[in-house]
């Protein structure tokens, strides 16, 4: 009995779960960045972000079918490549547009309102997005076309790392690097950091706060769009409630790393991914969710502002 168990486990064991966790974690990180950037600028817990991600995946699903009727795995490589590329370009654009529009219409008039007011508005937006998703694709989970091969790239090592895993890493890592470069070195990125640090002072030196906020929502939305495409291709099934669960994980990741902190969101995403997979492997799937939130609480108890969050003193 035990031998049988060990044999099936020998296919990867700890290393395999770690690898899988890192792949999933980079996906969570991408969504977490949207939460953390918006929070960093206007201190809004954007509860609608997960549902934006869901709408993004529905949009991408439309792209897989629309340009050349139903793209499937046995279509020519060029067609698959073109479809994936199209998804990766148009979905982020759509999500960014929708996010900016939401901010313009709903959050902007509330800039000076207390936090709770804006949070409740965000909950309202989340409800609306979810309902739109429900109308759009119905209540049952939908198959996302299986476009990328499941062939193992590293046979012989005892681990499985498929083309799909590679796709996730190949999309998320450059995106995150590009974001870091953008925030560190461009004028707009500097303006963002300045606004996050001190909005009043940033405005005094001539930074247009509205523009910076709009840009933040655009980037956060685009990242959710990228994550939506990658998620669809990787998990191969989407439904209107997926924004809630994944949004919650991503949000936890953002908090774990220190909300408002960009490298923190990435670290948090990876931690959540790895903890979730290891939890699934060793505690069983049903306890892995509880484990994720348990870890969040334990970490916040010892580092009350997250792993990389700035330990600012409360201003008096």
């Amino acid at each position: 009995m035990f031998e049988l168990f060990a044999q099936s486990d020998a296919a990867g064991g700890f290393g395999q779960y770690l690898l899988l966790g890192l792949v999933l974690g980079s996906l969570y990180a991408l969504i977490a960045l949207g939460y953390t950037m918006v929070y960093g600028i206007i201190e809004l817990i954007n509860f609608a972000h997960g549902d934006l991600f869901m709408l993004g995946s529905f949009f991408a699903l439309g792209l897989a079918v629309w340009p050349m009727d139903v793209v499937t795995a046995d279509a020519p490589t060029a067609a698959i490549g073109a479809t994936v590329l199209l998804m990766l370009v148009l979905t982020p654009l759509g999500c960014a547009g929708l996010n900016v529009l939401t901010d313009r219409v709903i959050y902007k008039p509330l800039r000076t309102s207390p936090k709770l007011t804006v949070i409740v508005s965000a909950i309202g937006v989340s409800f609306i997005f979810m309902n739109v998703g429900l109308f759009w694709r119905g209540a049952t989970p939908i198959k996302f076309p299986d476009l990328i091969s499941d062939a193992n790239l590293i046979p012989g090592t005892g681990l499985r790392f498929t083309w799909k895993d590679l796709m996730v890493v190949a999309v998320t890592v450059p995106t995150m690097i590009a974001l870091t470069v953008f925030v560190k070195f461009t004028a707009l990125g500097k303006a963002m950091r300045a606004t996050a640090q001190n909005p009043a002072a940033a405005q005094l030196v001539g930074i247009n706060a509205d523009r910076v906020i709009a840009a933040t929502f655009a980037i956060g939305g685009a990242l959710a769009g990228v994550a939506a495409v990658v998620y669809g291709l990787y998990i191969k099934s989407v439904d209107y409630q997926m924004g809630f669960q994944n949004g919650l994980y991503a949000f936890t990741a953002a908090v774990l790393g220190g909300i408002g902190n960009i490298p923190g969101a990435v670290l948090g995403g990876l931690v959540i991914g790895v903890v979730g997979e290891l939890g699934k492997a060793y505690l069983g799937a049903k306890w892995s969710e509880a484990l994720i939130f348990g870890i969040l609480i334990v970490i916040l108890l010892f580092r009350p502002t997250g792993l990389l969050g700035a330990r600012t003193r409360e201003k008096v």
Binding site: Y39, E43, I45, F47, I106, P109, L110, S113, P114, K115, L116, T117, V118, V120, S121, I123, G124, V125, S126, F127, I128, M130, N131, V132, L134, F135, F244, L248, F251, T252, V255, I259, K286, W287, E289, A290, F293, G294, L296, I297, L300, L301, P304, T305, G306, E314, V316
Partner: protein
């Protein structure tokens, strides 16, 4: 506030009279009972968010803990077989204890981090309830919950006199007296909170909410006050959970205690008027009433009116979340203080109005007591 003085007792009187009216329907009675349960839950949450200003996003956990405490104490599956009264009190006590135990270590977390940890706690509690099948029967829920009303009463008597007319038993659901018990509990909780607001503790909470540093300088102990608020809030939420399980006769699917419930309750509290008891009750009746009662009525009505292919889109239940979300957004935009605002909160949200008021008052004061202000200036120089 002056309006609320009259309409709240009037509302309670109307609801108490409802079962005796000719329009009364059995299933409506059950639906109202559930509304009362959620109103108690919203009042509980209001103690934590409204009075103390701690954003708690896991109130559903206490609701669930209350429901399952009742389940464990009453269902035939366990040997305890307690009465309704004992079970409800135990549920409140267990929830309050869990509330204190889970909040004490995280009091040092600031603002949003506190909210997030309570969110996490709420989810862990939900997963625990769902996964501990040995105790909670997983997604099936604990049932049947058929506790006698008082200790020593083994069977579920109909309380003879509560059978107010011959049709009661057939027109009303199994425990008709629960309607009155839960309505009474809601009234009791409202009165308790009213008195509490005016007490030393209630005023201390408000002081803490307005300025933690200043109030601690005045000798208040923030940690103890916050724990007291969470204990009371969690205890009342547990009581609400107990009534929920009683009214449904089962703990139901644990999914009923998920994050959506916590969020909905936050919305009820804010929509009604953060910190204002009457507002919170009204907000709950409107939101949950819309969700549980009005959508069905409108659905039936619309289905009768149209029988074309457009039917699927003409279902109000399909548009539920959009209506819900739009209402929240519109409210936050134009009336963020809620339907029945608490006066302090109103001033905070509409500073221009209160400033104008303050200026007018200052002018009056200046006109009335010029010598006083001059005297003050002389002293300071």
């Amino acid at each position: 506030m002056s309006v609320a003085r009259y309409w709240v007792p009037a509302l309670f009187a109307a609801l108490a009279a409802y079962p005796f009216l000719p329009v009364a329907e059995a299933n409506r009675g059950e639906q109202f009972t559930i509304l009362f349960v959620y109103a108690i839950l919203a009042l509980a949450l209001n103690v934590v968010i409204g009075y103390t200003g701690l954003l708690h996003l896991g109130i559903a956990a206490f609701f669930g803990i209350g429901a399952y405490t009742v389940g464990v104490l009453t269902v035939p599956f366990f040997p305890l077989q307690q009465s309704f009264l004992v079970a409800a009190l135990a549920a409140a006590a267990v929830s309050a204890a869990v509330g204190v135990m889970t909040t004490a270590p995280i009091l040092r977390l600031r603002g949003d981090y506190f909210a997030l940890v309570t969110l996490g706690f709420g989810l862990i509690a939900l997963y625990a309830i769902r996964n501990l099948d040995a105790i909670t029967e997983g997604t099936k829920g604990l049932n049947p919950i058929e506790a006698g009303p008082l200790p020593g009463v083994k069977e579920n008597v109909d309380l003879g006199g509560a059978r107010l007319n011959a049709e009661w038993g057939t027109r009303w659901y199994k425990y008709p007296y629960l309607y009155f018990v839960i309505l009474g509990a809601l009234g009791g909780v409202t009165l308790l909170l009213r008195n509490l607001e005016r007490s030393r503790l209630g005023r201390a909470w408000v002081a803490l909410r307005e300025d933690e540093l200043a109030s601690s300088c005045m000798g208040l102990n923030p940690a103890r006050l916050k724990l007291a608020a969470v204990a009371l809030g969690a205890g009342l939420a547990g009581l609400a959970g107990a009534f929920y399980a009683m009214a449904l006769r089962t703990t139901g699917n644990p999914a009923a205690f998920d994050f959506t419930l916590s969020m909905t309750m936050v919305c009820c509290v804010i929509l009604g008027g953060l910190g204002n008891r009457s507002g919170v009750i009204l907000g709950t009746f409107i939101l949950i009433g819309f969700d549980r009662i009005a959508t069905n009525l409108l659905d039936n009505y619309l289905q009768e009116q149209f029988d074309s292919g457009a039917k699927t889109y003409l279902k109000v239940s399909g548009w539920r979340l959009i209506i819900f979300g739009t209402a929240l957004i519109v409210m936050m935009r134009f009336r963020p203080e809620g339907l029945l605002p608490e006066s302090r909160h109103q001033r905070e949200l509409h500073p221009e109005a209160s400033e104008a008021e303050g200026e007018a008052a200052a002018r009056e004061e200046a006109a009335a007591g010029d010598p006083g202000t001059e005297g003050g200036e002389q002293k300071s120089t």
